[in-house]
Symmetry: D2
Subunit: 348 residues, 4 copies
């Protein structure tokens, strides 16, 4: 059962719902959104007349298993990261190097992506690497460099957190916590970022169904953190031409099923530099709320993922063409009406 | 070895190339494009000095195995179907019912999709069905209805051909021959449509790599038919939320590797009605030259594929928004220049 | 509706069933097995009391869509090819080169595989090749060589047929017609081999579900040919270590759903020589009725598929170990009873 | 560079190798096997003459990236869990309920699987669940019940550990630590079990390549734990008939590339009860060193995964048939020689 409350609902309503649930042996949880709305999710049904309680907006008895992530009970959410709004009219562009290589290099890269139109900075301090012998990132030094780059440019920072114990440390430096594809079903980590007071970027596991992805988001929401952004980053496929298969079908489906914003990573999603620009356009056209792209001042020298990394100049093109595309679709949407000939035929 | 010839190349050049190849025991073939250009593909290297022959434009010694389909030797092709150009500035919109249900119904559907912006009519007279007991289409009657609908609306017609012996019959009625996904590697069929004088729409097999798709196109080109349009229509995936996984990554990759136009089928590609519109936008943004969409005046009553069929009104929206999107991307492309801040950083 | 008839059912029963169906506008078909049993499949239900008709064994009103292939109405079938029984106690071992290279070479290969334990000879006269420029087989000459090898060794011959018009020609030389994976849903071809009087080996398409595979078999059965053997040959997967992913799960599932015998092709199914032997053992242990294996007297010199071709000596090992394995499982099956300790616990 | 040392190598050899590596700035690690052998893996090449050092058996300069897991430097390993040897002549049979439901129920289940032939007990105390609202296991109480069941039956216990901080606690009760498929690339967890003194069962991620799986094992080995057993448990596939696609191809490939033992989980690997027995036989025939199977005294009442859980009686059959199969293959292996006819042909 999902109960949504208006911002002016009295505390007594929440208390009443929670105590009624507990008295029936049902587990329940409250999620408070930044816009003041509250949602109570209950693993079962209460016998009281909920609609009578002050401040109750809707009551859903039948719903998806991801009750807090579901679109059934909430209009599309906007997640704020610093001064950036994800899920609003403007697409967010997160860009930066795969891995933080050094303080000066990072500040240089941050300035370049900002000039190219990026609104957030990405970069890895802790890197999940397939090989135990590969470079695993600079760790806390990397986090410090990210904070320095934010200071230099004003761009909010998103970076990956790999294990529950790192959450507190990473949250001290970063503006947004990224949970990587390999960790999409690392439940202890999901619980810990669910208890953190920073927004979370949740990448889709590379063989996760959309339902499993939303259930992973539900773990974070159920632990009290309302600020979750989904990120499609490619699934496993059979064609060796691609490192991964960017699955844009998941974008409109996730937005149909959930109120959470969705961004797309065309860099990991294809693994092919020349496909990053066209798939960025496709992602925005499919309804994505933004992009996260690997950019390096000198892509061929990038310490990891060079073959999928683009230059700031290419990012500038993506940014400008992407914004033109979003504007064209938005304008057209407003002006929509049927062609007269079709109206005639359909009304015949 | 690929040799390209200008439209004014004398016949003697082709003859010389062919006889040189034959004298070395190499097989060779000539392909003549509608724009007058000619390409000679030879399975090996000639010892003569080809660049000296009159009318020779380029000579490629190393090339992809799909030598005639390759982008290496030819700028993007435009394929004409009646008065429609596929691969030009305007996207082609092919639309119509999954299966031809009757003469009057089809003419009604054709009028509706035309009013909604479609520039070609699609519809199945011969249907490949998983079950031997399912409706297999109206056959030649269906072809006659398609011809009648073309007469009533002026829309050129594309329809599927299932076996080599049908090619002649279908070509008598249709403007474009469709080879379905299940037949992408039906080589006798590819050879026969390669010898037909009608353009061919070649759907990607639902577990074919892009390389295999281009090799299938090569069969058609190698038999003399230069007018091939590729069609991405979804691949097999693991998420039961989709009937197929529309693989837009294949669009920019195919256009990078080949000069052939590419259209996208978001209806079969997703199997989900609500995803047809967003994935249509994504397809055009990824660089597709057009769309092929299942449309029925009353989608829920469609005799097959109802769950992925949209209404003419939805098509009208897709058409208008799609054209706005293509225009926005085209205009932006023309005006491209770097933001000044980025120029400063990059030149530093 | 499926009606099964005993071998002694009078012709009048079949006639009555067929005319009743026709009078209701239902399509119907009769399939006669070599053991004398007959099955009538009707696309709907008759109103007459069928159980009263003489010779009727069973009547199934609810059944799978592949009514003739279904296990619901028939015990596991045995298909005879010459003196070989497929589906009986002994596994069939089909072996031979990928492609027929010449008369003497083939006879030499046939003698070697026979000495190594093979009971049927395989070899391609018509080859489906991804590239139009690759060697496409010797055609009718290849068929003649296969017939000569049969005469020299007594081994029945299975070879691929690529298009409907070839069926008659290939059936003149071969003992069994192979429909390849690329043609699993080539319905005109399925209909034609369904009308031929030779048994058919139907390979699974490399992204076909088991249901789709059985529906393809149904096409052959519905056109009157009861002698169909299924062949699992690997599906598309994401790991580049394998050419295809041999999907043994499909073997016990197909045998649970259908009465048709199933053989396995570990050569195409893995594409890796060193995996052919262990996956052959696994195939037989999963319940397969036999194997089809690419063998060449000198694997490294094979004209195609060299990397997955094994030597006759390796085949001899597979044959001997495979027969030992099948015997061990058969014997154990006969002697089955529960351990006493478990009986005590379960009866407690 | 991989250097293997005999059991009688003096400590000075290891010290010399490590200090030489450090002086060149190379990282290096020593792994000590239970049989006394030692392996030193160095991320680069030393300039000293290693073969002169006392106790050095082999030196490999070129090798796979998973240097410690590689078959290149070590014969197949045997991993001991209590009195059970995994990787020896006898297959290990791990069996038990999906999740520990209670003390008495577990002891009853443990007795039943032991009577049916199981040599290890499996059962989940901490369960990774797709939904945050599903039953997550009994936690430490579950561990205590497992220990009680071991005491009652003598069966060593394997159970899953979900996060780094749990490792110490789980290791206190369990004989073997299981890392689940969702955590195959949870590197902090891999490092922690790599530092534990208990053997580890490493499940393959459900879209991991064999190479990625071996690299995950390498993390554990590189942190000092030589006792790793690989477990194939099914990959994602497109056929909805299966929950997962058990990928037996991975078994012989992993054993060809690595010295680590491999077991197979046909329960999760198929998700279908009726496929567990045939795929168990197939797994053993493919070369697996054992099985891990979900068994419940009353499968239909199992608290999770009921549709893939079998009864103790079915396990008894699998156990007996499986051992018969392994014995038949082992015996045949010993007696191997070529058929005389084939020898004549091959020597001609």
């Amino acid at each position: 059962m999902i109960v949504t409350l208006s911002p002016d609902a009295p505390a007594s309503t929440v208390e009443h719902l929670m105590s009624s649930a507990i008295s029936l042996g049902l587990s329940a949880r409250v999620l408070s959104y930044d816009d003041g709305a509250q949602v109570v999710g209950i693993d079962g049904s209460l016998s009281i007349d909920i609609n009578q309680l002050p401040g109750v907006t809707t009551v859903q008895v039948k719903h998806k298993p991801y009750m807090l992530a579901s679109r059934e009970e909430r209009a599309p959410s906007v997640v704020r990261v610093g001064n950036v709004r994800i899920g609003g009219a403007e697409p967010v562009i997160m860009a930066g190097p795969c891995v933080v290589e050094g303080r000066d290099e990072l500040i240089c890269a941050a300035r370049a992506v900002k000039a190219a139109g990026a609104t957030m900075l990405r970069g890895g301090a802790y890197k999940p690497r397939t090989s135990p012998y590969a470079f695993q990132g600079l760790g806390e030094d990397g986090l410090k460099h990210l904070a320095a780059a934010r200071e230099a440019t004003g761009l909010p920072v998103v970076t990956e957190v790999l294990e529950p114990e790192q959450v507190e440390l990473v949250a001290r430096y970063a503006d947004m916590l990224q949970v990587g594809a390999r960790n999409m079903q690392n439940y202890p980590l999901l619980r810990r970022v669910g208890a953190a007071n920073k927004p979370v970027l949740l990448k889709r596991g590379f063989s996760a169904t959309v339902d499993e992805w939303l259930m992973a988001a539900e773990y974070i929401l159920a632990h009290g953190n309302p600020n979750v952004v989904l990120c499609e980053r490619g699934i496993r496929g059979f064609d060796p031409a691609f490192r991964f298969n960017l699955d844009l079908n998941a974008v409109p489906l996730a937005k149909e099923l959930s109120h959470l914003p969705v961004v797309v990573d065309p860099s990991h999603g294809t693994g092919v530099r020349s496909l990053v620009a066209p798939m960025s356009m496709a992602a925005l056209a499919s309804g994505a709320d933004g992009l996260i792209i690997e950019v390096h001042p000198n892509p061929d020298l990038a310490k990891c993922d060079a073959s999928q990394t683009i230059s700031p100049a290419e990012l500038a093109t993506i940014n400008r063409r992407g914004r033109a595309l979003v504007a064209a679709l938005a304008e057209d949407h407003t002006l929509f009406n049927l062609p007269i000939e079709l109206e005639v035929i359909l009304s015949a």
